[in-house]
């Protein structure tokens, strides 16, 4: 990779971040036009982009960002008043930036004609009163505490090797009783975690000094991790928010400059955390190698060498492999915020286009998911949210008629539940018209009339995920572009996830997506079917049991068992795997091993020949020739080097 390429990669990565930052902040600016902090971040982002573009020699981009920066400066100085027109103009500017960057990425040039737009910007800027902008240094509105050079020196002398310096900002809930007393608890907790260098208010004065804006700032030297400190402080009652940043002490300069300039530099470096950008492909490769390692470990285990040393080294190897796997998984994780962040802008634009009022609320942006899942999830999420705006939320007048608030709400939330990540899209709009769905399903012959009669409400709703049901006849500008809910479902299924839907007329619709935390390595139960070994992923199993023939009951001609008053259908795994033998042989056995597997709310009892053991398996996908084998989701290599197929429980159930 040449030097220039390296710069380019970094340029693209950083440009993407800045564009995101601009988008976010313009959205915020629209809500709080007076917020100086927002304007300052906007200005800084435009400024940084300008610098980067100029360095790379992208002249159009430089000019564009320069004009935008000018405009933001005028806004900051109050010469331009923020209104919808300005916001739209800023958004348009960012779109242009994005387009140019995309163009550069594609073919290296930036021949996009933005003269018209630049003139528009120019006009706004010159309309603003020709007051000379004040020559003042940009300053973030919410500063952390600054350290004097004496204090820095002091930290240097006392800090142990593993200690880190943290800037901690704590926000108390508005309704907190005895705020100063709460603050003293925070101080106490902090001093148990490390050493408080400085705080605001001062620790000694906490009984006398009222808190400003419910905020407490602490600079703490501690050997604990950021997460541990966060958890410890959050555990105190009435804490609304804890922000922790690592502070890098400035390099010790020769000549021992002790002017105030030094401490100013420090404030800036609060923002910097040390990260490395790594190509996702390298991580994939690493993950693959760990998979291989694991397979070899399993094989080694199977060799069962009779030696004391072997017995000792095996658990060690086991632990290291798992740690390694865990660490790489960790590295591959990214907060879903990287995907969520583009949605507020999208919803805003759509809502404006359609004359709808929408409050878009996002929760759990910090929830982490595997990077590859996040990448795949972008489109389905976009689709669901577009649907929520387009079909879900009604126009204000219609909402008022229904006695609802004229402003609709769309909630997007993410959270972890056990070994799954749940993402929900919820709107309080008109809900899904089940009759229409059923009608469409009948016309498209997805189901028969008889089948419909057997279905309950919930099952009818699921028809929405069938091909051809959700796509609109007349293609609207927003959703219904031929990509239907079936594609959404398929994408999510390909990530080993599931999607559920709930909807009530005039109350709204909720989509719930559940995704596995990890993809590559899983715990599995190994079972024997017709003398072959198969793996069943543990997260799909609710229990295993052995039953006697007489426990099998019949319902509508099918075998079932009754387990804790629940009727569970039995499925012969030989039959679902299409093994060439007589089915139903299990009835001759004394004891029948059964694996109860779940898919969504559905549970079935899978009859196998033998329950073997539990094992970590590395999931390998089947090659293209063997794509879409029913009931099989992949393969893995077991101890003796044999290949075992992985049962696709969702398919079977």
């Amino acid at each position: 990779m040449s030097d220039n390429d390296q710069y380019l990669d970094m340029f693209f990565a950083e440009a993407r971040d800045y564009i995101q930052m601009l988008n976010d902040n313009i959205l915020q600016l629209e809500e709080n036009p007076e917020n100086k902090e927002v304007i300052n971040s906007l200005f800084r982002a435009a400024h940084s982009l300008k610098g980067m573009s100029a360095t790379m020699g992208f002249n159009t981009l430089t000019e564009l960002t320069h004009k935008l920066e000018n405009m933001m400066d005028k806004i900051r100085n109050g010469e331009i008043v923020v209104d919808t027109e300005i916001i739209d103009l800023l958004f348009a500017g960012i779109d242009h930036i994005e387009n140019i960057v995309a163009q550069i990425k594609e073919n290296g040039n930036e021949d996009i004609d933005i003269d018209g737009f630049l003139k528009q910007l120019e006009k706004q800027i010159s309309v603003a009163k020709n007051r000379k902008p004040e020559e003042k240094e940009e300053k973030p509105a919410e500063l952390g505490l600054e350290l004097s050079s004496e204090e820095i020196e002091n930290i240097r002398e006392n800090k142990k090797e593993l200690d880190t310096v943290y800037q901690i900002k704590v926000l108390l809930a508005d309704e907190t009783e005895f705020k100063q007393a709460r603050a003293s608890m925070i101080f106490k907790s902090a001093s148990e975690l490390g050493y408080i260098v400085k705080s605001e208010p001062k620790k000694e004065e906490i009984a006398e000094v009222e808190l400003e804006n419910n905020k407490i700032k602490i600079i703490l030297v501690s050997s604990q991790t950021e997460e541990d400190i966060q958890a410890e402080i959050m555990n105190i009652t009435d804490i609304k928010e804890v922000k922790i940043e690592e502070i890098k002490l400035p390099e010790k300069e020769e000549g021992d400059k002790k002017d105030s300039g030094e401490s100013k530099n420090m404030t800036n470096s609060f923002e910097v955390s040390s990260t490395v950008r790594v190509d996702i492909n390298k991580l994939d490769k690493l993950m693959n190698m760990i998979g291989e390692l694991l397979i070899n470990k399993t094989r080694l285990q199977a060799l069962n060498i009779k030696s004391d040393g072997f017995k000792e080294v095996l658990p060690q190897l086991d632990r290291v492999t798992m740690d390694l796997h865990h660490t790489v998984m960790q590295i591959r994780m990214e907060p879903v915020g990287v995907m969520f962040n583009r949605f507020p802008r999208m919803i805003r634009d759509l809502a404006k286009e359609e004359g709808k009022e929408i409050d878009f609320i996002m929760k759990g942006k910090e929830t982490e998911l595997d990077r590859s899942i996040i990448d795949e999830l972008g489109d389905p999420m976009t689709h669901l949210l577009r649907n929520a705006v387009d079909h879900g939320i009604e126009k204000p007048a219609e909402r008022e008629e229904k006695g609802k608030d004229s402003e609709g709400t769309i909630n997007l939330s993410a959270y972890q539940k056990g070994s799954e990540i749940i993402i929900e899209v919820k709107d309080d709009g008109s809900g899904i018209n089940i009759d229409k769905v059923v009608q469409k399903a009948l016309t498209k012959e997805v189901v028969s009339k008889n089948e419909i009669e057997e279905m309950d409400r919930h099952e009818k709703l699921q028809l929405l995920f069938e091909p051809g049901i959700s796509t609109k006849e007349e293609v609207s500008d927003v959703s219904g572009r031929g990509v239907g809910m079936d594609v959404v479902k398929r994408t999510i299924a390909s990530l080993d996830g599931e999607i559920f839907i709930e909807s009530k007329a005039d109350k709204g619709t909720k989509f719930r997506i559940s995704l596995p935390l990890t993809l590559a390595i899983q715990e599995a139960l190994m079972v024997k079917i017709n003398d072959e070994i198969f793996a069943i992923p543990l997260n799909a199993i609710s229990e295993t049991l052995k039953i006697k023939t007489e426990e099998i009951k019949q319902v509508k001609g099918s075998d079932v068992i009754v387990l804790r008053e629940k009727t569970i259908p039995l499925i012969d795994s030989r039959e679902s795997l299409n093994l060439d033998i007589d089915y139903g042989q299990y009835k001759d056995k004394k004891e029948i091993p059964i694996v109860i597997v779940k898919s969504g709310a559905k549970e079935i009892g899978l009859i196998v020949d033998e329950l073997l053991y539990q094992q970590e398996i590395v999931i390998k996908s089947l090659s293209n020739y063997l794509n879409n084998v029913p009931n099989i989701s992949g393969a893995t290599i077991i101890g003796d080097g044999e290949v075992a197929l992985i049962l696709d429980v969702r398919d079977i159930a």
């Binding site: 009783e177 005895f178 100063q180 007393a181 608890m185 106490k188 105190i236 009652t237």
Partner: protein, 122 residues
């Protein structure tokens, strides 16, 4: 989930003790002893070795702050929650410095008490 625990309730007002005892009972905790002042609290703490002490602040003989400090001397792991009232913020701060885990403010709110106790015992 949190373990149910043995609690010593210290307050000079019998009414408040009963009030607290009922609330704590609702959450499944057992009030193993009651004390009317700091002195009694220290004695009973030695006898009963409770998991947690709720300490009123204003009490005759020995107040809650002094009691908190004494209890901390006897048992450095003692878990104390201060029961304070309007205007006692400065005292609460002293008590926290003396080693109290948390505080609740009268009139008592059940959820607050539950939260404070769960956190103190965690």
């Amino acid at each position: 989930m949190i373990n149910l625990s043995n609690i010593l309730v210290v307050d000079d007002a019998a009414f408040m003790r009963l009030n607290l005892k009922n609330i704590l009972g609702e959450f499944g905790h057992e009030v193993v002893g009651e004390a009317e002042n700091g002195k009694q609290a220290v004695e009973k703490y030695r006898d009963l070795e409770p998991d947690l002490v709720t300490l009123d602040i204003t009490m005759p003989e020995m107040d809650g702050i002094e009691a908190a400090a004494k209890l901390k001397e006897i048992d450095k792991d003692v878990k104390m929650i201060m029961c304070s009232a309007m205007g006692q913020q400065a005292m609460v701060i002293k008590a926290i410095e003396a080693g109290a885990k948390d505080f609740i403010v009268k009139p008592f709110n059940k959820d607050r008490i539950k939260e404070a106790i769960e956190k103190a015992l965690a």
